[in-house]
Subunit: 354 residues, 2 copies
């Protein structure tokens, strides 16, 4: 059996008994019923994932999956493809947005090359870098499949390997990515899997104008027409209109779910990966936490398909894992409320007539 | 000149030059233009408040103003009035929600008795407690003014004194409160100052049912009818339908603004205090950060009147300052982005054609 098949088989639903026990504990805490709203829903989710009333959340890692995209040849992005390599160097040096927010959140930031089109051999050995390339960028999906089926599986398994390696030092995973052009395959995946029109799934990415957005939308339509991905087969969708980093994100999420650990999902691209993970194994969604609502229009239908409501809504559209890092303190807060807050009895506070 | 008048005179607008400089600096940072959305807006706000491109945010204090309300005699709350005293003890002992979230946020939590109806003399000397009572609870506003005009000024000045005392050890202030029944005067203040109907300003507070909500709404209407507060005179509104802790929150906010420091405003009750501060000194609003959108219906019109969009929307309705504590990491994140993130030049990343 393949690593992917074994991992999927090992994913179990979140534990309903621990969810109930967390709910019961919260109702004893010294506040009006459910007065911390969605923070308490999150605490229940964490208890169900981790099978604990004191969910461990101290050791955190944002994994930034990096890869390039052949479809950039169509002129779908405002930035040249070289920026992927340049940004990987910036990420490894610690200067990018997710580095700043990760430091604040007490999270390690690990950058993984799963298919960058450039020479990164000088980065080997850096503690915050791993090299697991499937190929030097995908093929142009507007002309044919982005990758072969076995490469799609290899991309997902790269994510599984990263999750396995981090297992002993990580309580909370978070997804991030870097790959110029990667909103284009993400929107294609969302259009294919969520049955929404491409016009509702495509957005401005790094900030393209109306003319280029129309062009990008047409390119995505062409990619779907040319490739005819099978929405019932997530690996087929990934192979035909996906990207290596999107597959690796799906793998990281499946790996976290198999470890029964929460995984914070960042914005549009990460959520496209989360959709693939969900279609490969529906129970994996029970370990996902939607960190924020991106400005990208395709994010809404993707979150809805996962049944997720994001924690933050701050108009972010940077990616990298910045939204996931920014939501980490809310995960810690939910866990702390469950463990540190006094009950009515502890605090000797009178109950109301509720 | 009174302390209040002197403080108001000392409040200047946020600095437009530092706002412009922060904007210019952000546009050099290595990301698509304004790709961190409202986090960057917040960074600009912080620069304008503090006159700095490295806004200090390390030293934080949540001030929990506590007081009682005569209007509880009308049966407007689900909890008995004694709970205010019990919760003050819980807050000083460190077991309440805001203590948990404050610890996580690296914020001191200071509880100030500005008018609790009970004996708290045993708490004197506790590092996290101050005693500045105006009286032992307000009078019942459904029958006449909640307090005398000079008591209203004294309540606001209590907040000013706290802000002044904390000045040397605080970069970021946050407001919180404890006072059984205090959504009732808060909704009355909002109805009076925002010209919305009482039915749009009154909510379930700690969780009352439909019958009691109708009763609470009628009590607020009666208080406004009996007292006829003058919406052009915020001290009159506070005196007639307010509370000591609400006045003290207004004072704390004015004090923070006079020190040119950000102040995170919590939910409904804190925002009622913020409205009073704004009416006393419109420029004070430039130092306020709306931390979250409460479940209370009156919070929306109050935030709109202040021109504020809150950072979080998590269905919180606990008060205490919990929402403000929960938003502290976002303030730190905004400041860190401004100071720690690499520019395109630093990182040697190519710019796009935007």
């Amino acid at each position: 059996m393949s690593l992917l098949a074994r991992t999927i088989e090992g994913i179990t639903p979140a534990d309903p008994e621990f969810r109930d026990r967390a709910r019961a504990r919260i109702l004893t805490l010294c506040m009006p019923p459910w007065a911390l709203g969605r923070l308490l829903d999150l605490a229940v989710d964490l208890a169900g994932m981790t099978r604990s009333l004191a969910p461990p959340v101290a050791r955190r890692c944002v994994v930034v999956m990096a890869a390039d995209h052949g479809v950039t040849a169509e002129g779908v992005s405002a930035f040249p493809r070289e920026v992927t390599v340049e940004m990987v160097r910036n990420l490894v040096a610690g200067g990018a947005g997710v580095n700043v927010l990760g430091r604040q959140a007490g999270a390690r930031v690990l950058v993984v090359d799963v298919g960058v089109a450039g020479d990164l051999s000088d980065l080997r050995g850096a503690a915050s870098f791993q090299s697991r390339p499937v190929a030097h960028g995908t093929a142009n999906m507007a002309c044919g499949p982005a990758m072969r089926r076995e490469q799609a599986i290899q991309a997902v398994e790269a994510g599984l390997h990263v999750a396995a390696e981090l297992a002993d030092e990580t309580d909370v995973f978070a997804t991030g990515e870097m790959g110029i052009g990667n909103t284009t395959p993400s929107s294609a995946i969302i259009a294919a899997l969520c049955a929404v029109d491409v016009s509702e799934a495509a957005g401005r990415g790094t900030g393209i104008d109306d003319v280029r957005l129309r062009h990008k939308t047409a390119v995505i339509r062409r990619a779907l027409d040319v490739n005819q991905p099978d929405p019932g087969d997530p690996i087929d969708v990934l192979a035909k209109v996906g990207g290596f980093e999107i597959g690796a994100i799906a793998g990281l999420i499946l790996g976290a779910a198999a470890q029964r650990k929460p995984v914070l999902v960042d914005g549009l691209i990460s959520t496209a990966g989360a959709l693939l993970a969900h279609r490969l194994c529906p129970h994996a969604a029970e370990y996902m936490i939607a960190s924020h609502r991106s400005d990208e229009p395709g994010h809404g239908p993707a979150l809805a398909a996962l049944g997720k409501r994001p924690l933050l809504d701050l108009g972010l559209r940077l990616g990298e894992g910045t939204g996931a890092a920014l939501a980490m303190p809310l995960v810690e807060a939910a866990a702390r409320i469950l463990t540190e807050m006094a009950s009515f009895d502890d605090a000797q506070v009178s109950k109301g007539n509720l």
